[in-house]
Amino acid sequence: MDGLLTDLDVIRKDFPILERRVANDLPLVYLDSANTSQKPQVVIDAMVDQLENHNANIARAMHTLGAESTYAFEAARDKVAAFLNAPSRDEVIFTKNASEALNLVARTFPLGPGDRVVITEMEHHSNIVPWQLATERAGAELRWFGLTDEGELDLSNIDELLTPGTKVVALTWVSNMLGTINPVAEIARRAHEVGAVVVLDASQAAPQLPVDVQAVEADFVAFTGHKVTGPTGIGVLWGRTELLDSLPPFLGGGEMIATVSMEKSTWAPIPHKFEAGTPPIVEAIGLGAAIDYISHVGLDRIHAHEQAITGYLLDGLASVSGVRVLGPLDPTRRGGAVAFELAGVHPHDVAQLLDSRGIAVRAGHHCAKPAHKRFGVQSSTRASSYLYTTPAEIDALVEGLEFTKNYFKVG
């Protein structure tokens, strides 16, 4: 199969959990990586090493361990900056997840009555709800791009949506439900023509595509650590320096100040202005190790692998009667998360039956209720691959779906 990682066997050995046996001693078939990715040994080791040998608080402890921890934490910031091709490391702000990163922008970006924020119908709830809250608070207007039947953004009314009153265009780079890869550079160009800033949710893009914030001319980019083989509890907001400098603080507290008196405080320069309190130190170091790991494999190679596996998955699903895939059917135009319906069997039941065969998928609305509604479904089953996914695992899924149909006596 063209595009598959040639050293797939070696890569799988990097992920100890893939040795797990579940469901009466069957090998784990983990097809829920869009939900969270598995972790390679190097990430686990980096976090354990930090806890065992270097643990201290950062940026304040005047001792050896404090210096080591600070160095490791800030080294992780350098790694993230390089990973995103950020012009400056100070533009990388650590948050606890992508939701917090998006909330940071939505909460601090100045909006007023009559301003407009444009999102899309395929957003994860984390890129819908913060903007609902922000526009309600400001008396601003929330609009969105709709979707075509093929699961792509409907840009036919872009001239009507992007007006001079549009201050923010916030959209996902890759859909977590439909898998669609959006033309973010083109949309950013159009948004900038009307003076809007562009906020990209790269939660699903960062794991599987080269993310270059300069190439797409983004203003803000959010992603989360745990989907790029890093730990939970760490996310990233990247933003352009002049924008981050102009925004007020998000959370107040330790480490984000320059000076504090009882009457008034002044703020630390970025990134620390947006990092109140003790940050997730171990998690940031784990994220740094994760970025080293996937960068070492190569994002271009991971992307090719994902496309190959996704193509094979789409072919496999097409062979099962009663399956309807939601989203683009061309593997070159989409990411590795594939949501589908199986006629006559509810997604919960599909997931349960698959789980009984050791196959982990996600069932539900995947935090994208509006996108489901757009396609007239309440929920779906989602299989999502990553750099460790094998064609044999896709075969197991397809067999599992036939087993499911048989069990429920459909088709």
């Binding site: 509810h346 997604p347 919960h348 039941d349 069932a363 539900g364 209720k369 489901h372 929920s379 429920f408």
Partner: protein, 151 residues
Amino acid sequence: MDLDSLYQEIILDHYRNPHHAGLRDPFEAEVHHVNPTCGDEVTLRVHLAEDGTVRDVSYDAEGCSISQASASVMTDLVIGKQLSEALDTHGVFLELMQGKGQVEPDEEVLEDGIAFAGVAKFPARVKCALLSWMAFKDAALQASSKEETHA
């Protein structure tokens, strides 16, 4: 994992042929409950007679086999009962579902509901089984307080 302990034949029967499905008049209370984690939904109406009998429970539910079958079994168990007795049955079913598979189901009280004993061993599915029961309790109490106001 024992799939058949979860998907008892009784459950699959109710799933394929749900009893008392659809929304009907008259009713004193209507509620809409959702399972936020998966999006399963039920709209449910309760009609109480003046003597406190649960005269009708009608519903429109969208969800998995467990939640659909549970709604069907629940209506079988509560329609025609005194409200207090129906709420007692609710309590017994709730206890079974929250019993982590350790509670012996009482067939006298729960009838077809005993088929859900296996569901209690699947924590992710307990909410599915309870969705319509929680909606029933909510609607029944609303209907009952309305009756008292009118009386």
